[in-house]
Amino acid sequence: AQRVTQVQPTGSSQWGEEVTLDCSYETSEYFYRIFWYRQLFSGEMVFLIYQPSFDTQNQRSGRYSVVFQKSFKSISLVISASQPEDSGTYFCALSDGSFNKLTFGAGTRLAVCP
């Protein structure tokens, strides 16, 4: 069975700081992908970045990057130079590879203060 855990229900930072959000997961699949989404206040889920399990390099996209520790089955999202507009709820999600079905964590609500 797959499971995704985000132990931080909330987080905060000051404008310009680097923020790290943690996620751990369980899967029996050899090949899988981990996605990060941010939920806007409107409810829309916006894709941020993803890490494939076969790639040992940490992925990076703009101000977003991940720290992937495959042996520990953990992955952290790092947001550099955080801004108030980054406030929202961040979800980690695991894809089991078939039909892109995603198993989500419960999310971390981030507040970036000006």
Binding site: R33, G43, E44, F99, N100, F104, A106, G107
Partner: protein, 112 residues
């Protein structure tokens, strides 16, 4: 255009009455999904269509129905709403392969 559109934005329903939620996408994606999101909980996959084939999750099999009359359109149907159905319903679509999902803004359903 990477937009997934959901209607309505908010919906009020009475206990025991049917509910129909609508989703559309114009990206020619193979797969369309419906997720249920309750406060402080993870989004939960209810069902998805791969092309014309409906796949429902085992624990929600009897509670939700869906139709996909064409590639762009997908609905979520609740035959008899209960209080426990109050939630945000998120529609998403994806192309075949290791692609990300594109989500709509959701429909917030309140059952009274």
């Amino acid at each position: 255009d990477t937009t997934v559109k959901q209607n309505p934005r908010y919906k009020l329903a009475r206990v025991g009455k049917p509910v129909n939620l609508i989703c559309s996408q114009t990206m020619n994606h193979d797969t369309m999904y419906w997720y249920q999101k309750k406060p402080n909980q993870a989004p939960k996959l209810l069902l998805f269509y791969y092309d014309k084939i409906l796949n429902r999750e085992a624990d929600t099999f009897e509670k939700f129905q869906s139709s996909r009359p064409n590639n762009s359109f997908c609905s979520l149907y609740i035959g008899s709403a209960g209080l426990e159905y109050s939630a945000m319903y998120l529609c998403a679509s994806s192309r075949d392969g290791p692609e990300t999902l594109y989500f709509g803004s959701g429909t917030r359903l309140t059952v009274l």
